[in-house]
Point group: C2
Chain length 427, copies 2
Amino acid sequence: MSVKRPKGTQDFLPAGSPGFSPEFGASNLNFLTATAQQVLERAGAKLIFTPVFEEAELVKRGVGDSTDIVRKEQFTVSHHGDHGGYILRPEGTASLMRAYMENGLKQLPLPLKLWTHGPMFRAERHQKGRYRQFHQLDYEIIGSDAALVDAEAIALMWNVIEALGLKHARIKLGSIGDAADRERYNAYLRERFTPLYDQLSPDSQDRLTRNPMRILDSKAPVDQELIADMNIQPMLDFLGEEAAAHFAEVQRTLHAWGIPFDIDPTIVRGLDYYRRTAWELHHEGVGAKSALGGGGRYDGLAQALGAKDPIPGIGWALGVERLLIAMQDEGLTFPAPPRPALFLAALDADQLAVTAELALGLRHLAQVEFAYRPLKMKQIFSEAERRNAVWVGFLGSDEAASQTVSLKNLDTGEQRVVAQAALADVL
Amino acid sequence: MSVKRPKGTQDFLPAGSPGFSPEFGASNLNFLTATAQQVLERAGAKLIFTPVFEEAELVKRGVGDSTDIVRKEQFTVSHHGDHGGYILRPEGTASLMRAYMENGLKQLPLPLKLWTHGPMFRAERHQKGRYRQFHQLDYEIIGSDAALVDAEAIALMWNVIEALGLKHARIKLGSIGDAADRERYNAYLRERFTPLYDQLSPDSQDRLTRNPMRILDSKAPVDQELIADMNIQPMLDFLGEEAAAHFAEVQRTLHAWGIPFDIDPTIVRGLDYYRRTAWELHHEGVGAKSALGGGGRYDGLAQALGAKDPIPGIGWALGVERLLIAMQDEGLTFPAPPRPALFLAALDADQLAVTAELALGLRHLAQVEFAYRPLKMKQIFSEAERRNAVWVGFLGSDEAASQTVSLKNLDTGEQRVVAQAALADVL
């Protein structure tokens, strides 16, 4: 029996593979990364990579131990010589803040813009756009609580979306206020939900004690039906003066820059360290329940991870597979894979060494492939066509004797015989 | 207490970070990948990515359950809802062959050249050049057993080394023959080592039954001392006629192409599926015991993974951190990080919105950074210098009134006042 890849994971394949799907195209993943790199490096963001697994404690503190991600979707990593408390990272923000703290990155000019990309892991049930290993583009700016920083972070996410050519993405923007605002909102929610305790899902009964705001995020149908009928006031109504002024400035700046967004007063974040600005990016192509990405300010995260003093930060993540699904939904095309400028083949074994040497000598100029065994004329042309080569070239005993190559351009039909030494000029 | 990264792992940081080491430079890792991409895509190799974890069974079959990698260095991955039989991949070849088989890639033109890059995992003891998460560049060509394919694979590895500018790497080339040749060699080794059974390390006593060739690879000092005194005949002396002819053709071709190599008659591979050509790439900068990379032919791998018929293949891997160490050892430099063309700042809060808007409007042309709060003149220059900006620009009330920006070129000292609308022309 052949071994298969792990359940819920994907191989990212070359275009043209059997059953090829563009959201699992290896070069499409690279294209997204390169597009984000262009946008983010123009803004001064610096690339960083952190390990794909982290201490369990980091994820617990960074994502929250009452979340589904930690309670149900963790992949644990262990080695028999160790304590075994590692987790495949479910997201990038906690890792980047850890790296910022651990490596003394505050010595770089602040605020520091970081970006990364790579695999993330959640043991979710398999469905379209949700995979157990998925890929994210991640941007974080650490070291400033200015509203201008929030607006720029949102603008940069939008610039990536624009650079990809996506037209139908929508930003849903909200604010979850400061810690005191959230306490007031949680008190309000406790007041509203406590009388209905028996009607809540078991998870949300638990949330009512630990973190009532997370009830609003519940995916359980009983909770969603209950909440729909309750006319709950949104978080935005509970913003204090400073958080409201910050939120107004973010909106004003985005308007000035022409970045479109809708206010979503219902956006919540379940973790204590989130502050103020929070947003999601939606697209009809990936369905209403999934976002292309999202972001938020997390001024309390560093302290949750063990820092003595607060370190303000804000950032976002975009889902690579979902961006690729959205691009397909909008009929956008992906860069074509590079095609060989020349496919070279020998008619007899005697010319094999020459074709190989010619091919290798041309590769500093162009993509050149060659046949590893002598081929018949018909095979040479069919192999060149299968590879989508621009030129096909072949050597028989005549060409070998005259040190030439017979060429045909498969796009134009043009045929030529050229000196082997002059092949480079043709390409 | 702050959470730290897992033992034996590294963060890949921006250049200029405190204690920055080029082998853990994020942009250096990208530079190596881009260099390999250029070389390999010119040869027609197609990019592929496979998940970072695989079924334990794949690693057991693909790497061998008598190897240290499987016996001592595995990171297991589990999720409480699953059987938990996953492993963080220790190398890439088994995954790429699995992907080839599982996705029907034999329908693409053969032989198929694949390349990938990414993290690999081995719970080794921490030492220079050995990390628990390390990174590899990987090339495989599947579907041909021609000696020309072997020579080209070696040449492509060499081309990557040349493209990086490395001058002191050495290829050590050998052949481990065909299955029957290895049986004869193992019989010889059994004959030689059995009388000395008591002097072998416990691991090698075990290997004597299971796979005597692996004794020659032993890192245990008792084994190494014993072997040094035994005058063991090398594997190369046991090559059958076909394997010897294949090896001769590989050497002849490499000579013709001007690829330098040394014959190493002692190269062995412990796994049954390896065949014929095997090589290592050494460099004094990473020490005699570590290789920059290595490769080999693995015509029996597909069947070990469950294929009905044999699928020939050959490939190599290069260690990214070790390449970066070797480059430093040779005094090679890495591409400088991109520097801002302009750092813009406002002297008063009133001009903040204008500086931000000007900066954003210029980013389609160049890297432009701006200050998120008003700064004093001295701060503006020091912040621009810390960022290594080419131009520093500032706006006070005068500039705001006249819709200009005051500029100074930090490289040349040139000072100018330009219309805000003409800023793009300066960059």
